[in-house]
Symmetry: C2
Subunit: 286 residues, 2 copies
């Protein structure tokens, strides 16, 4: 008699969030005479990045959000990229800015991110946005961490006083999701490539967030019975960072790959773009 975890349906939740964003976009359009606009900036022509940007723009279009694409040559310098982003930050027709990354090794990505005005940082990549997430202040969240928090909320996962283990410490995913979990009163442990006893630490977790991009790094047998497992890993062949087949027999809730965390990222991007437009156009939705 094998137990089976309940799936956390990111596809369904993302659809609801996008539906709400579309309704707000329509209201903004009606009341302000202009629809929300996301600027997408891409340096070079990396095929995966081209696909991501195209997908994001298609979702925007479906939700009644305009997008303006700025494709820059691979030879673009950091200074030129900063100029572009600063221009968009000052352009009242643009409400949100997405810099598709990685931008390539010759670009100082941090300097580029910081050229995005905080009120247009709908991808939650600036230092200010990170600090706001960490301190529980108003601001836009990084999209994947924000999506994870919305999934946990949708499934009524109680976080206060619970052990949460975040595997990964990137500026865009691991670090911010840990800070958001801490803000919700979880006891948060950051694990990473140098962690000595990953198995032992995962075994104590009530909530595991895997966010490293290493296929099946988290062994199913290390999942504590009844734990909540969030797999934000993305690896070739739709394989997550968690050994799903074993983990699903032990967890209480688990995100499938695909259809778990993945769809949430774009949904949060769209929701934040609409919120940014509402703020900048002097409307309040919340």
């Amino acid at each position: 008699m094998t137990q089976t975890a309940q799936f956390m349906d990111g596809t369904g939740l993302a659809e609801r969030i996008v539906g709400e964003a579309a309704a707000k976009a329509a209201e903004i359009s009606r009341r302000a005479g202009t629809s929300p606009c996301l600027a997408t900036v891409l340096v070079g022509e990396d095929p995966a990045s081209v696909t991501y940007v195209r997908m994001k723009r298609a979702r925007c279009a479906k939700a009644g959000i305009r997008s303006r694409h700025i494709g820059l040559p691979a030879t673009t310098t950091t200074a030129e990229l900063i100029d572009t982003l600063a221009g968009l930050s000052g352009d009242p027709e643009v409400h949100g800015i997405l810099l598709q990354h990685p931008c390539g090794p010759h670009i100082d990505e941090r300097a580029a991110f910081e050229a995005i005005a905080p009120e247009k940082d709908v991808d939650g990549v600036t230092m200010r946005s990170f600090a706001a997430m960490s301190f529980g202040l108003q601001g836009f969240v990084s999209c994947t961490p924000g999506g994870i928090m919305r999934l946990l909320e949708a499934y009524d996962v109680d976080l206060a006083g619970k052990r949460a283990v975040v595997v990964g410490r990137s500026a865009i995913l691991g670090k911010p999701v840990g800070m958001l979990l801490l803000a919700r009163d979880a006891t948060v442990t950051y694990c990473h490539s140098r962690t000595a006893d990953l198995s032992g630490i995962v075994q104590e977790a009530d909530v595991v967030v895997a966010a490293v991009g290493r296929p099946r790094l988290i062994r199913g047998e290390d999942v504590k019975p009844g734990a909540v497992v969030i797999d934000a890993g993305y690896n070739p062949g739709n394989v997550g960072d968690v050994d799903f087949d074993t983990a699903v027999t032990r967890a209480r809730l688990i995100t499938p790959v695909p259809g778990g965390v993945g769809p949430m990222t774009i949904a949060v991007l769209l929701a934040q773009t609409v919120d940014a437009a509402a703020n900048q156009l002097g409307m309040r939705h919340h």
Copy 2:
């Protein structure tokens, strides 16, 4: 045969750091014709705050760092405080700014901190400084966390892959020290008032940083034999957050209270003020 931990001598290390800062201040004075200047801003006349500011200014004077004190009435509004800080941020005669806090319940401290120019944030309180600490970027650190890291370094504490437990999650102490430990490749756990099994978690720690301000919250018998214990707690009667008498029999290294973390905070403030002056005057020391 009771083992006794080695004391981590914050007083001695702080003296060395202040000595170095004084030498650099003298060099700046000689080469630039002006000595480093720290602006101290105090709202109201809370006796403890008055004492702290006086102490900091006296240490500055001893190290050849000028200070300019701005005492504002307790009735000062957030907007007035921001004006003052923005003025100091733009004043080329001032190299570092310290806003003594807490400022009182009527002040929006976060808004006030953010009026401090990043290059003058020698107390490491801005959102940008926090993010820089978190991302391993150039910038000023919060003084107490910075002091703790210097203590760990001075005693050659190996952090990579080790379990570090931070008890406390304030924006000025707990959160940044955790991020600095993570940047040094420790596996970091944040505990706090809502943590369910504090004893059990502390028992696993190779390094414990206590930073909550609750007398003897950390029981000595929970300290893992051979652990490093950093007590950043400050409570009346020179009592730390750690039950020192028991902890000292189990730890390998421990900070006494007083004379451990305490003296390091001002030392880092002075060192960063001198570095800020060097940067702003176009000199490089490192």
